[in-house]
Amino acid sequence: MLLTISTTHHPATDLGFLLHKNPARTQSFDLSFGRAHVFYTESDETRCTAALLLDVDPVGLVRGRRGPPGEGRTLEQYVNDRPYVASSFLSVAIAQVLSSALSGTSRERPELVNTPIPIIASLPVLPARGGVEFVAGLFQPLGYEVTVQPMPLDPKIFPDTAAPYVAMTITATCRLTDLLSHLYVLIPVLDNDKHYWVGEDEVEKLLRHGEGWLAAHPLREEITFRYLKRRRNLARAALERLVAEDEADPDDAAEKHDREEAVVEERVRLNDQRLGAVTAALRQCGATRVLDLGCGEGRLIQALLKHRQFELILGLDVSHRALDIAADRLHLDRLPPLQKQRIQLIHGALTYRDSRLAGFDAASIVEVIEHLDPPRLAAMERCVFEFARPKTIVITTPNVEFNVRFETLPAGKLRHRDHRFEWTRTEFQTWAGRVAARFNYTVRFVPIGPDDAEVGSPTQMAVFQVCN
């Protein structure tokens, strides 16, 4: 909400002409979200400092607001850092209040517009989502000397904890229009949020204000991605147009791409293997009517549909949102009738008895049980094994022993925040054995993923078969 710009150019008072704001006065401007004030704290031949102070209306933010809810729905809250930090509001204010300076026009000093002058810009409270290094990484390549001062969070309650803000000062000898363009783009990038909906015209804005520097910026992907609020299609369009104007080293790009893919593939491969193994188990038992309990976004259903053996696949999930995504992913609304009638998606929970689940040949419960609190497992066991009672039941769950093989996973941490437990092979097999005995099933175990001699496979699978 506060930006100061100083210069030691001679005469420094020329800054007033560049900004189109009289150093002798305090001026205020109405904006849609509040008011902006421009005033000078010093102005003489040697040094001149202008301040842009933004009065974001905190009540107006919440009441009568149009636009997105903001990251973590912050814009719907009265207790909100928006009035105090540099954010997309400041970018808008720069564009509206300092528009001539931003576009590089000056009636009185047309030649000065294109002259690099020594400039110091300060932002006392700048959100730094991505850390201090990220702040430096954004501005240093543009030729700035960057001073970043971290800010402690309330020391009374959170001793030794950093707030997500920094005070930043950047110094360079450059054109004022360039400095303002950099700030215009990079402030919301650091904040990683926008107070308005991001659409196609935002790509144009980025390219306009990024002209001459963004294409060559080493973090251009991240900047584009964040500036366009992580909307992939927009970011792709913007990057394509950026790169077309840019002669990037093709080898460099290809190498980078390969690296990224390997990381992703590691993960994808295990997921694919899991779906494959479950599909195999379901095909092997000859089931035609199958349940996918905890179907999530419908990946397994998608895999099963490829096999004509499965005449009816019923997916159940507790999250209504996940079911909507699954319906989308499966194109349920435009599938031909014969295909469509093979799929049913229902909202339900594994801890409630559900008559809709009766009469199926097989059920898969893939990476689901670890999301249940252990005391609720008993209800799940009865709902599935006693009441739904399909002939075959396939259950997969992480093997916690394998976690030591994940390099990125800190020791003792579970793989997912919502996992209530992760079992060793013995724990899983003991549980499965007890359940099988109680409900009169047999059970066998199959590893999924690379079977490590010491710690086993990353995923473990149990296949239950009802006894006659």
Binding site: L2, F39, T41, S43, A51, V85, H347, G348, L372, P375
Partner: protein, 862 residues
Amino acid sequence: MQLNIPDLSLVVLIGPSGSGKSTFARKHFKPTEVLSSDTCRGLVSEDENSQSATNDAFDVLHFIAAKRLSAGKLTVVDATNVQAESRKPLVALARKHHCLPVAVVLNVPQRVCEERNASRPDRNFGDHVIRQQVQQLRRSLRGLQREGFRHVFVLDTLEHFDAAAIQRVPLWNNRRDEHGPFDIIGDVHGCCDELEELLTNLGYQKDPSPSNDSPWSTPLYAHPQGRKAVFVGDLVDRGPRILDSVRLVKAMIDAGHAICVPGNHDMKLMRKLRGRDVQITHGLDRTLSEIDSIPTTIRPQFEKELAEFLDGLVSHYVFDNGELVVAHAGMKEEMQGRGSGAVREFAMFGETTGETDEFGLPVRHNWAAEYRGRAMVIYGHTPVPEPEWLNRTMNIDTGCVFGGRLTAMRYPERETVSVAARHTYCTPAKPFLPPEDAAPDRPAQHIDDDVLDIDDVIGKRIINTTLAGNVTVREENALAALEVMTRFALDPKWLIYLPPTMAPCETSKLPATLEHPAEAFAYFRHEGVPRLICEEKHMGSRAVVVACRDADAARKRFGTQSDEPAVCFTRTGRRFFTDPAIESEFLTRVRTAIANSGLWDELETDWVCLDCELMPWSAKAQELLQRQYAPVGTAATNALASAVELLNRAAARSPDAGPLLDRYRDRAALASKYIDAYRGYCWPVQSINDLKLAPFHVLATEGAVHASRDHTWHMNWAARLNAADPQIIQATRSLIVDVTDAASEAAGAQWWEDLTATGGEGMVVKPFDFTARARRGIVQPAVKCRGREYLRIIYGPEYSLPENLDRLRSRGLAAKRALAIREFALGIEALHRFTRREPLRRIHECVFAVLALESEPIDPRL
């Protein structure tokens, strides 16, 4: 001619076109009771005479008929129905819904039909059609009984047609007008000694009848208060005094002191007496030998009368406006008060799977586990060691003849009274008493409650509450609640209550004040509530504590299978603590305090449900503090300090920056007040001694929901709990205010000023009597009135600036208030149902609904 038809039946009119069916139906039935095939043709095809629409029209007709019969509504089918194949699905439909099919045949002369059709322009089919229909009708006449019609009325002449009068007759089993009180008595099986003892214990007096020579001669038992005995059947076989038992019961019935439904043994005896070939097994031999000992001169007459008596017994009864059903082996909801062979069969044998067990007995399907009906069902048939409730049903056959007990259930008291068998008269094929060294079974209801059914929570639901009538939960809200309940809530068996949301008072008009006690007091005064209690509002997190005397009491009362004697959960049913060690240590302290306060003994309970606030706020809100509250404070202080510093310099240069400087100085001061406000509710928790639990309602204990106790009672318990462990249990300060007395009100307002000036969150104003009713139902159970400083952490650091406050004043409370009432009613209803020991699903539905309503979009700052 009077046509007596059962009041729940499917009346099938049979007659050719033009025979006057529609006229007949209009004359004798309500328009809504009549389903006409012509109307249905019109519905599906725009043409009431379209023959090509016949199939679709009948689909519609059958569908509506099924819905009506399922709902227990008499239904008349107005179609020609002259062919057997068109009547067949109707008979099947009636059977499926356990209604009696009745045929009314309009056999008017063909000439009349032809004349009537000729006079109607839309009936342009030839006379041959009518001729054919008349022939089909004539051919059908004799077979109607065989087709399954229980009553057939044929109106042969126009005179009959005109003179016909319909009389609706209630079914034999309909005794809704009898309200008891009753003593329902289990399977007697000839245990007359025990029966006499039981009747005596129940207060029946024996009136020795003048001895005569009749084989039916017996003393008469009658209750001085007019109670009636209701026998669940199986009077005969196996026991030592079979005919005495029958005589005793018959005499009581004849004198109007008893009612009896037949058991399978009674019916088998009846068939034997009627000369049918039945197997002499399961103790029938004993009955027959008792009969054989009757002198031959009077035996045939006795046998005839006995058979008539047994034959006259009605399969089951519905009493007391449908609140009570008695049948020998039980009765499903959809069969109650209905009549069909299937109903009779179910009453006699219950439901079996078709399999037999290792003792050669039929495997029974546990219909009671699936029972969802409103009526209480009392039955016998299968001996059980203990009579126990399961979904409002109770089996009271405690196997007297097998050496168990003869049990009676007193209605409406819902108490059981038993006498022990004097001997084991007969050995059961399958032992029904558990071996003495076996661990005691968990109650059937607890086992049944282990798994809840999805149908009991999803979809649009209407829940009847005592406090607020019907509460509707929309389907979308239930969707959201299912996820929360499944993924985060603790075992539903512990969730006997969720706290309601609370509305603030209306907005104050005072300067720099958004909420003030005056508006809270005014609200209650306008609702006609004179006496209020103001309670200090603790700034922590809402917590519900359900605690038991010990783990055993928890298992017994709550049916849980863990060793936990207590739980503490949040307003969304999540465990309050994530660390099991802290949870257990904390709850042990709380339970000790409860024990030391004398609550267990004084309230004669093994468990208690406490509504509390648990502090510090930071214990539960750590994430929120770190992500939102503290960063806003940091950003505000730094940004505003920088702005003030710069403006100072600017103002030194040019005075026009002065007003801006003043404004930013004010804002900086507000930011620091905001930080002070939230800091007051935060302190580090190193051990459980740093936690503070402030109980403010003792919501329920065994047999009692304390929503009818006034708040001083609750505050008194809160104080006693505090005295028992001042370290972790915090008392709640309170003040009684009379809103008809200005001085008292002023004292209340001053009390709030003092409370909030020292960092208090504010206060909660409640009707002194806990629940209060006004013209439009119950009033708000609580209205909050928050302090000026506290509101900074709700409405932002600078909410108190005049330009902000003026806009914040407009806020709609209606939705929030309606929600608070509904959630309050649901929470209290859940507790009532729990104390009445209703099935878990009935409690869960209320708690689930509270959670569902919480997903209503309502301004979270209210």
